[in-house]
Each structure stands twice: as C-alpha cells, then as structure tokens.
C-alpha cells in the first residue's frame, strides 16, 4: 500500500467507514488525495476499480482515458453517448473507446451527475472567468500528463466531467445544473482492459463560480471482485454484451 504523508491522513475518508459501500482495507492497492487544481495519472490494471470520491463538494473533475496497451485507442464521448442512448452517465453504464470496446464500467455511483458535453477548461477560459492569477486549467494538465507517456497534443480528446451536469433544453440550449455538489459521493470505475487515466481536478468550464476554489478529491485503486454472471454492466443491454465480447477478445491470446 502506498505510504500517505501523515498530514494528509486526517483528510482521508477512511474506506473502512460506516459507508455501506466501504471497501475492505485489505483490498486497497493505492490511495491518495488529489488537491484542488492538481492533476493525477495512473494505469489501472484490468479488473481493478478506481474509486473517485468527492470529499468536500467538487466543482468538477475532468477525465481522459486510453487503452494502456495501445493508447491510440481512446475514450470516445460520442460513441459512449450514442451506443447507450444517453448523454448523462450513471451506475450501470460504461465508458466506450473509439474501437468498440469498453474501457471502464460504472459499477457504483452515488453522485448521479456526470457530463459528456462541456469539454474542459483552458488558460483562455480561466482568464475570462476568474480574476487575474495563474490558475491551473485542464487543457494544460492533460498535455503535461500525456507527455509522461510519450503522447501529446493530438491525443487530447473530448473529455468526461465527473460530479457535474450540463442539461440540454428543448431548443438545444446548454445549462450548467447548479447544486450537484455532494460531499461524500463517489463513483467506481472498473477497468475492463488496462487503462491509462488522467484526472484534472480543475473546475468545470461552465461552473458559475467566479472564485477559483476547486476542492480535493480522494482516489482509491482497489482490487474489486471479478464480475459475476449477473454483473450489472456486462448485462446492461445487447450493445454492452457485444462490447464486452470485443473487449474480452483483446485478452483471448
């Protein structure tokens, strides 16, 4: 288990808490706090789960992911929405790659608010929204994180935003939904292949607050049990069944 600085231990939502979805501590492989405004990257091995916990009322976390064994296969927001006929991700849905496979399954989710439409913040969007200052933004974070894996600007794709929602009105108008902050809520993402994940803990580009004050999140990689024959995500619909056949084929040899 990764050593945590003593000063951070007080912040931890200890996973052996009274929460009904508490993780058995013996299954925790990696745990860390990502401060507001920071970024974090990791490769999650197939079968393990990444839990992202909103500790204090998140203003949004931007996320990208890739097939770690072939990063030209990338998370695709359009396929994810259209294959599942819904632009709002929730428990039981999955994150599709652009190659007909599943990167991550949402096996648990107590937030209920995630956004596929809004994209991410940039230096330019920060300059418009906040008072003068050197505020971190997700576009630059993604670029720096990708460089660590030998990737670059062309690999920045449309992203997912956790813990936030953008509603669409009948005439197409996009409206940032206020009040989605739910301290203590979390989402569990089970890796269905080896997955490179980048989290940028910067506020959603449409979040209305003009004060740059992103909140910390907790990240926990844990050894989740293998999916059973009645697994929620693997059996969700005929498309998912085919998507998992395609994904499993990657590991057939």
């Amino acid at each position: 288990m990764q050593l945590i600085p003593h000063s951070l231990e007080n912040f931890m939502v200890h996973t052996a808490s009274t929460h009904s979805n508490a993780i058995d501590p013996s299954l925790v492989l990696i745990e860390d706090i990502v401060p507001g405004g920071a970024y974090w990257q990791i490769i999650i091995k197939r079968g393990n789960t990444l839990r992202i916990t909103d500790l204090e009322g998140s203003k949004g976390v931007s996320m990208l992911c890739y097939n770690a064994d072939n990063p030209i296969e990338r998370f695709n927001v359009a396929d994810t929405a259209k294959i599942q006929f819904n632009a709002f991700l929730k428990k039981g849905m999955v994150l599709y790659s652009d190659m007909g496979r599943i990167l991550l399954s949402i096996t648990e989710d107590t937030s209920g608010c995630h956004d596929l439409l809004g994209g991410c913040s940039s230096a330019a969007s920060n300059a418009v929204k906040y008072s003068a200052g050197d505020w971190h933004n997700s576009r630059d974070h993604f670029l720096k994180a990708l460089t660590r894996w030998g990737l670059g600007k062309k690999d920045i794709m449309p992203n997912l935003n956790l813990f936030t929602r953008v509603a669409v009105e009948r005439d197409g108008k996009m409206v940032f939904v206020e009040g989605c902050e739910k301290p203590g809520s979390f989402t569990d993402l089970r890796a269905e292949m080896n997955v490179m994940v980048i989290l940028s803990n910067c506020p959603h580009v449409l979040h209305s607050s003009k004060v740059y004050d992103p909140k910390p999140i907790q990240v926990t990689v844990w050894q989740s049990p293998p999916p059973g024959s009645d697994d929620l995500c693997r059996n969700a619909n005929p498309e998912a069944i085919r998507g998992f056949i395609n994904t499993d084929a990657l590991f057939a040899q």
């Binding site: 695709n76 927001v77 396929d79 259209k82 496979r101 920045i156 794709m157």
Partner: protein, 213 residues
C-alpha cells in the same frame, strides 16, 4: 449573412461536383473561400472534420464550439472553433435548420457493438475519414468529435439521445466560410442500420466559391 449566400451563383463556383453516396472527400480551403454542401436527396448525414491547414494539430473542437455558443445545435451564425479557441469556419447560411455535433462518426467497431457483431465489415465513416486524411499525412490520432450535417440528434432533459428521422428536405444547403486556411474532410455517410440516412445513402453536391470582394 444570408445575403452573401443568395449572391452565390453556382455558375461562378470554382468547384462544383457531385460526391457519390458512401464516398470520402477532402480539400484545402483558402481563407475566405466558401464551401457549400447540398443534401440532394434529403436526410443524408454528412460527417465533417476540419483542421488548420497550416498546422493540423489545431483542429475542430466540438466542446469549445458548443460551450462558446451555449447550444448543442449548429446553424446559421455558428462559429466552428478549434482546440485553440480560434474560428476555423463560420456557417453563413443553413436552410436545414440544425446540425449535430454530438453523435460522432460511425465506425466498423461501433457498428459491431450497435447493430451486431456481423456488421463489423460494413463500410463506415471512420474508414472514409482515414482515406480522406491519408494524402494529407494525417491518421487516426487526428480523428476527433466531428460534425454531422443534416443529421437529427435531439437530446432530452433526462439525457436521452438518439439518431432519429432527419429534418433535412431535398435541396437543403449549408454554406461555410473559411476564416483561415482550412483542411476539410467529409464522409458521405454510408450507414444503413439507423435513420441517419433514411436507410438509403444518397449523393451530395459540393461547391466552392472564391472569397467575395
């Protein structure tokens, strides 16, 4: 803005060709040129990507475009923004009513998931994009969320999203003005498994005019 388009006479176009059903196409537009896409048969999805021709790592960004205009549909007046926040193209005229940039491009792989594992050898837009971009030394890394002209993808307030019967009448046109030198790639969508092409892919007409004035 419509006034510019009504002055556009096909006889003065420097390019005027029919793109057959299911085919790819690419072309570099010089700054100021106008590209017209005409939906000859009605309800034909035209998948579309655009890049800064002088530096294709700068490319169309659906999210930047939608957030800037605050609306998920593209129509007259929409500025197609790049990942650097600059305007690549402006839609200066649209007689269809609205266009999609949330539904993505079909691929052999997503076809196998959406419609059946046996569908993985059917032709698809990603194949067309790869063909169209290869002469410009671009490839899969350069594929991003695209535009679907003439495609109807409503999004409900509970997030429900579906490609449904189109609203584009035969003869619908969309005119795009290049605000920088722009590399355009088109896939005349070959999808036959959902209503995006009314189950019958049809040809489109492409015209280009030099900059006015």
């Amino acid at each position: 803005m419509t006034a510019i388009s009504t002055q556009l006479d096909p006889k003065t176009a420097i390019y005027n060709e029919v793109l057959p059903a299911r085919h790819p196409w690419s072309r570099i537009l010089k700054q100021g040129q106008i590209l017209r896409i005409e939906d000859l048969g009605g309800n034909q999805a035209v998948d579309f990507l655009v890049y800064n021709a002088d530096d294709p790592s700068e490319r169309y960004s659906a999210a930047d475009t939608l957030v800037d205009q605050g609306n998920i549909y593209l129509t007259t007046g929409s500025k197609l923004l790049s990942n650097e926040g600059r305007v690549l193209l402006t839609i200066i005229n649209d007689t269809c009513g609205r266009h999609d940039t949330s539904g993505g491009a079909c691929s052999r792989e997503s076809n196998s998931v959406r419609f059946g594992l046996d569908k993985k050898y059917q032709h698809a837009c990603v194949e067309n994009f790869l063909t169209a971009l290869a002469p410009h030394k671009l490839g899969k890394r350069d594929l991003v969320s695209n535009i679907n002209f003439f495609m109807n993808v409503p999004v409900s307030d509970d997030g429900t999203l579906e490609i449904v019967d189109g609203i584009s009448a035969p003869g619908s046109i969309v005119d795009l003005r290049a605000e920088m030198n722009a590399l355009v790639a088109i896939s005349n969508c070959p999808q036959i498994n959902n209503p995006c092409n009314a189950y019958n892919p049809t040809p489109i007409r492409l015209l280009i005019w030099d900059a006015t004035k």
